[in-house]
Every structure is written in structure tokens, then in C-alpha cells.
């Protein structure tokens, strides 16, 4: 039985549907992420799990019991808020002790647990400090400690890393993964940053406009997006109109207009004649001189329309004969030269016979 089960939950605000008949299940010990652009309903859903909002219909089951109607203070669920929400008039230790006090634990037990929690987030000497004396990263760790100290059934995290700068964010991401493994509490994490979701999660639910588009492991979300929204939202992707010419169990042959044909991996449920797009990730596309031998089966020539140099890699945007633009990623591993190709150069691009995904 799943730890958390969300069954057919809907929430409307007037004529606007924020969460539309969503069903998700989260297993114990998972790091589960709700990912989507702002306005997709992920925060609304999170608040309903926490108890600060009520669904208009549907159930939210924790350990098999419906929580809807139970106020937040009586749910074994805690939240780490986006701006930490530490109590400014209490010390770090008192902040962390708060849920234990509310649960009626003895002073002795509280002291021990607070010390342990501070240790877990490596803030052992900070117990006597006040929130306004801490840096952003430290406040965040206190917020984590406070949410985890009495081992709730579920910890909800509402974009907690949003306010941190890039470097600190990366460090905190690693800390978060380790913390979750150590403590073993089930996390439900909300973010709009897809790279963060891919890095941290066991499973991701991609949401858009109130509905769940796909729930899967990060590698599957990335490698096998189920529709155009997911493909486009996660990472970079290039798309070209295509029509199925042959649908075999292990491969698909697609007609891409004047460019000819393209093959891609087989996909269940696709039939000859279906229209859609072939979607390719930049790292799957090899760029080469037109005079070189094609690397892979799917090969086309085109012109470099633009490129983006980011230090470790350069992304080339290549325009093909039919006007389609495909992104190709080239690692800058060869020393000395900044770029291999200039705007306007003729190049060849290719990808494996089973790369890419056909989406309808």
C-alpha cells in the first residue's frame, strides 16, 4: 500500500480549475517531486496535502486513512516553507523543539532529539542563535531540521531552494539527498526547476494546468517523455513534423517531408499513418563536417544558424533544408579552439537509428 494516495482530487477557484482530477500515489521512503511551471497546480496540491486547503472533491489518504477535513495541526505531515518561516522570536533550538513541544514530549526527550537534529544538519553549535543571525543556507537547514525532528510520515517541501544562489543551491541539493536517505522520511518536493527535479527525485510527477502529464523516474521522464509538453519542459529538445510510414515492434519509420525518412525506437500504440513530431535531445545529435562520413543512420546536412557557447559545451542550432531547426551539442574537449563551426557553415548532423521519440 502506498504511503500517500491522492485520489481524483479537484480544486477550483471560481471558474478556474487549479487541480483537475489528479491521482498520484507516493511510496514510503520515496523522494517524490511535483514538477511544473508556475500556475500548474503543484503548490495548491501541496497545500491540500498539508491541510491548509480543502479539495472540492476527491480523497487524500495517508496510510490508508482519508485526511481531508483533518486540520493541519493534527496531521503527521510537516512542511518546509519557501521562505523557511522560522519563528523570529525563538532561538534555533526552540524552533526545532517546537513540534516536539506540540506533541507533548518530555523535556529530556526534547533536548536529546534537538541535539540530534542539529547534528544531522551540521549546525550543532547554533542552538542558541536567533534566525536573524543566520545566513540563508543556515536558515534553510534549521527549517529542514525542524520539519524532520519528530519523524513525520511525510515531509512537504515547497520550493525550498528557490531563494539560494546557484552554487549554494547545488550544495544544498546534495545535502538534501543525503538527509533524506539518512532519516528515511518520505519527501514530497515541489519545484519548477526541472534540473533540480531530475537530480533529486526517485520519481517525478510533471504537472501542467492542473493535470498530471506523466509520472515516472527521472531517466524515463527525460528519455521517454509521453507528450510534447513534457518533452519540451524537461531539458532541451528539437522537434520536427513527421508521419509514421512503418510501425514495427522495435522501430518506427517516419516521413519527415522533403528531408526524407527518419527511424526511431518503436513505440507501443503507434500505427501507420499517425501524424506527430520526432523529438531529439541535443546530446543525441552529432555535428560534423559535411565531408566527414556520417556517424549515424539518421543523417542530414544543413547550415549553422546560431550557436551558444557555455564553456563546457557549445550548442549549435542547425537549420535543415526544410526549415526545421535542430540543436546539436558539442563538448569543447579539444583544447585551444573556442568553436568548431561558425554561423553559416555547412555541417552534417546525425543521430542513432533508435534515438529520439515519436510524440503525437
Amino acid at each position: 500500500m502506498a504511503l500517500l494516495e491522492i485520489r481524483n482530487v479537484t480544486r477550483r477557484f471560481g471558474s478556474y480549475t487549479a487541480v483537475d482530477n489528479v491521482s498520484i500515489s507516493v511510496d514510503a521512503g520515496e523522494f517524490f517531486t511535483l514538477l511544473g511551471p508556475s500556475g500548474c497546480g503543484k503548490t495548491t496540491l501541496l497545500r491540500m496535502i498539508a491541510g491548509f486547503d480543502l479539495p472540492d472533491s476527491g480523497e487524500i489518504l495517508l496510510d490508508g486513512k482519508n485526511m481531508v477535513g483533518t486540520p493541519p495541526e493534527r496531521r503527521p505531515v510537516h512542511t518546509v516553507f519557501q521562505n523557511y518561516a522560522l519563528f523570529p522570536h525563538m532561538t534555533v533550538a526552540d524552533n526545532i523543539a517546537f513540534p516536539l513541544r506540540m506533541a507533548g514530549k518530555s523535556a529530556h526527550e526534547i533536548k536529546a532529539k534537538v541535539a540530534e537534529a542539529l547534528n544531522n544538519v551540521r549546525l550543532s553549535n547554533f542552538g542558541g542563535r536567533f534566525p536573524h543571525e543566520l545566513s540563508g543556507g543556515q536558515k534553510q537547514r534549521v527549517a529542514f531540521a525542524r520539519g524532520l525532528v519528530n519523524r513525520p510520515r511525510l515531509l512537504l517541501l515547497d520550493e525550498p531552494l528557490g531563494a539560494l544562489d546557484a552554487k549554494l543551491r547545488e550544495e544544498m541539493q546534495i545535502e538534501l539527498i543525503n538527509l533524506q536517505k539518512e532519516v528515511g522520511v518520505t519527501f514530497v518536493f515541489v519545484t519548477h526547476a526541472q534540473d533540480e527535479a531530475l537530480a533529486l527525485s526517485h520519481r517525478i510527477a510533471v504537472m501542467n494546468r492542473g493535470i498530471v502529464e506523466q509520472v515516472d523516474e527521472p531517466s524515463k521522464i527525460y528519455g521517454f517523455p509521453c507528450n510534447r509538453f513534457v518533452a519540451d519542459f524537461i531539458g532541451k529538445i528539437s522537434m520536427m513534423d513527421a508521419q509514421v510510414v512503418e510501425a514495427a515492434p522495435l522501430y518506427l519509420r517516419l516521413d519527415v517531408g522533403e528531408l526524407g525518412e527518419v527511424t526511431t525506437a518503436g513505440k507501443y500504440g503507434v500505427q501507420t499513418g499517425d501524424r506527430g513530431v520526432i523529438a531529439i535531445r541535443p546530446e543525441q545529435v552529432r555535428i560534423s563536417h559535411p565531408s566527414d562520413e556520417p556517424h549515424f543512420t539518421n543523417y542530414f546536412t544543413g547550415r549553422v544558424h546560431d550557436f551558444l557557447y557555455i564553456g563546457d559545451v557549445t550548442t549549435y542550432i542547425v537549420e535543415l533544408a526544410n526549415g526545421a531547426r535542430i540543436e546539436a551539442l558539442l563538448p569543447n574537449s579539444a583544447p585551444g579552439r573556442a568553436t568548431f563551426f561558425e554561423v553559416g557553415d555547412e555541417v552534417g548532423i546525425s543521430w542513432r537509428h533508435d534515438s529520439g521519440v515519436f510524440l503525437q
Binding site: L54, S57, G69
Partner: protein, 310 residues
């Protein structure tokens, strides 16, 4: 609906917290106001106060004098019947307008300076503006009795000056001039604070941009600072105009017999002649005047410059 159920559960807390202040104010603010409205339609009693609503066996007047009971529009007719009351209302408006204008002219440079000073100096300057407010209201008026009194240095100075031109001695005190000075003095902080609050939020770079585009000092003020400060001007003006309309202490202490304003009239009706119905009518008229001014100020503030200057 589930969401509404939870809201209904919130109700008890709401009543406990909002209930007591609400009850208190209904009883001691709303009810008295309603009583005042009802009183304006009653007959005045022979010895002051009100005549009884219904004929009673207890004598309320010397035997033989007719006692009128019930409701009447007599007090209203009295008010509208004599032009003098309209004149006094007009005079009160004039005094309020003059006070507001003078306060605006005096407060604006100060508020501007405070807004432009750096943080620590700013707090000190604001405190210095507020401190006179700490002294008792009457003291602030009394102080001007001393300064404008016939034996004061100022009076001597002015009269000697006028004497040189052959003009007669002038009494500064117990005059419209004194009333105006008193009104301005008492209400000045109320104009400074809203102005300062508004000016402080102005974006400095707007002025820099204007200067960069060729605007001279005066133009920068008139075309950038002034329009953006209008909401502050209106709040400050309302905070001065409205209290001045109802004030009676200043004319009472600093003014002469001919300088009475609405407030003095009302005070006389309730504590002097004790014609309560008429006093109520006057109060209601004052309330209506205040409401219209407040409404006007709110409308102005909303229609001009509601965008934040920052």
C-alpha cells in the same frame, strides 16, 4: 462543499476575537450616533434637554405652559430658516481651507527635506515634528495666548512698527488672525507626516532621468515630484481639514466674540442654551460636511497618482 465546511469551523474563533470590539463600538459609537439623529427630530425641553416623547403625568414645565411632544422638524426649520447658520458653516469651511493651505505650504519643504535626508537624521527629524504633539492640546493653544497677548514682545514690536506709520494699535489676540495661527499650529504635524511618508517612497532615479532629459530644478519639482506627491497631499489635507471643521477650542480661547465656528455653536447648544435638538441638527450637518470632504479626498486620491512612485 468541503471547503465551506472548514470555513464554518473557523467561525467560533472569529466571533470571540471580533465580537467584543464590535459590540462595544455598536453600543458606544453607533447607538449614540443614532440617538443623535433621533434627537434632532424632537422638541427641546423647557429647562433644557428634551421634551418628553409622550405626554406624561409628571410635570415638566410650569403649569399652564403648553408642552409639545412627539416628533417635529422644528429644529431643522430653525437651522435652515436663518442665514446666519449657513454663514457660520461657510466661515468654518473658509478657515479650514485657509489652514489647510497654509499647513501645506509650510509642511511641504520640511517633508521634502526629511524625505531626502539620510536614515538616521530622518528618524530624528520626524521625532522632532511629532514631539510638540506630545504636549497637551490646550497648552499649544495657550502658548499663543502668551505670544500674541497685548503685553508680549511681538505685540509691542508690531504696534510700535504700525505706530510709526500713524496706524492705531492692533490686537493680535482675540482675532481671526489668532484663530488661524492657532489652527495651523495645532494641525501642522498632521500635514507633515503623510507628505513625508509619500515623498520618502519616491524613486530618486526619476528625478535624475528628468534632469538628464533637460528639465530645470523648478520643472523637475512641478512635473515629477509634485504629481507623485498628490496622494500624500490629499491625505494630509483631509487630516487637517476635517478636524479644523469641528474644532471649537481654538476659536474659544484665541478668538473674539465674532469668531465663532460650527464647533462653538454646537458646544453652546449642548452646554449653554441646552437646546439639544438644534445642537443635534448642527452636529448632523457637520457630519454630512465631513463625509463629503472625506469622500472628495478619497476620490481625488484615487483618480490622481495612485501608481506608486517607486
Amino acid at each position: 462543499m468541503k471547503a465551506e465546511e472548514a470555513q464554518r469551523k473557523q467561525q467560533p474563533a472569529k466571533f470571540f476575537v471580533a465580537g467584543p470590539p464590535m459590540l462595544f463600538l455598536l453600543l458606544f459609537f453607533v447607538a449614540p450616533s443614532l440617538i443623535m439623529i433621533v434627537t434632532s427630530f424632537r422638541f427641546p425641553g423647557e429647562f433644557g434637554g428634551l421634551a418628553p416623547f409622550a405626554p406624561s403625568s409628571v410635570p415638566v414645565a410650569p403649569i399652564g405652559t403648553p408642552v409639545e411632544t412627539g416628533f417635529t422638524l422644528e429644529a431643522y426649520e430653525f437651522f435652515f430658516g436663518d442665514i446666519i447658520y449657513a454663514k457660520i458653516f461657510l466661515k468654518s469651511f473658509a478657515v479650514a481651507a485657509a489652514t489647510t493651505l497654509i499647513c501645506l505650504v509650510m509642511a511641504y519643504p520640511l517633508a521634502l527635506l526629511i524625505a531626502r535626508s539620510d536614515k538616521r537624521l530622518r528618524n530624528l527629524m520626524v521625532l522632532l515634528v511629532v514631539l510638540p504633539f506630545a504636549s497637551n492640546f490646550l497648552i499649544r493653544i495657550y502658548a499663543w495666548m502668551i505670544i500674541l497677548g497685548p503685553e508680549s514682545a511681538l505685540s509691542h514690536f508690531i504696534n510700535t512698527f504700525l505706530g510709526a506709520f500713524g496706524l492705531g494699535p492692533v490686537s493680535l489676540l482675540f482675532s481671526p488672525f489668532a484663530v488661524l495661527v492657532g489652527m495651523v499650529y495645532v494641525h501642522l504635524p498632521f500635514m507633515v507626516l503623510p507628505l513625508y511618508t509619500n515623498l520618502e517612497k519616491h524613486d530618486r532615479s526619476l528625478l535624475d532621468a528628468a534632469q538628464d532629459l533637460g528639465a530645470a530644478r523648478w520643472q523637475r519639482f512641478w512635473r515629477v515630484t509634485w504629481p507623485l506627491s498628490l496622494p500624500g497631499v490629499f491625505s494630509g489635507s483631509a487630516l487637517v481639514f476635517i478636524p479644523v471643521l469641528g474644532m471649537f477650542a481654538v476659536p474659544d480661547i484665541l478668538g473674539g466674540t465674532g469668531d465663532i465656528l460650527i464647533g462653538n455653536l454646537i458646544k453652546d447648544q449642548f452646554l449653554g442654551t441646552r437646546d439639544w435638538p438644534f445642537g443635534s441638527v448642527l452636529s448632523i450637518m457637520l457630519t454630512l460636511a465631513v463625509l463629503s470632504v472625506a469622500g472628495l479626498a478619497a476620490w481625488f486620491a484615487r483618480s490622481s497618482g495612485t501608481e506608486r512612485a517607486g
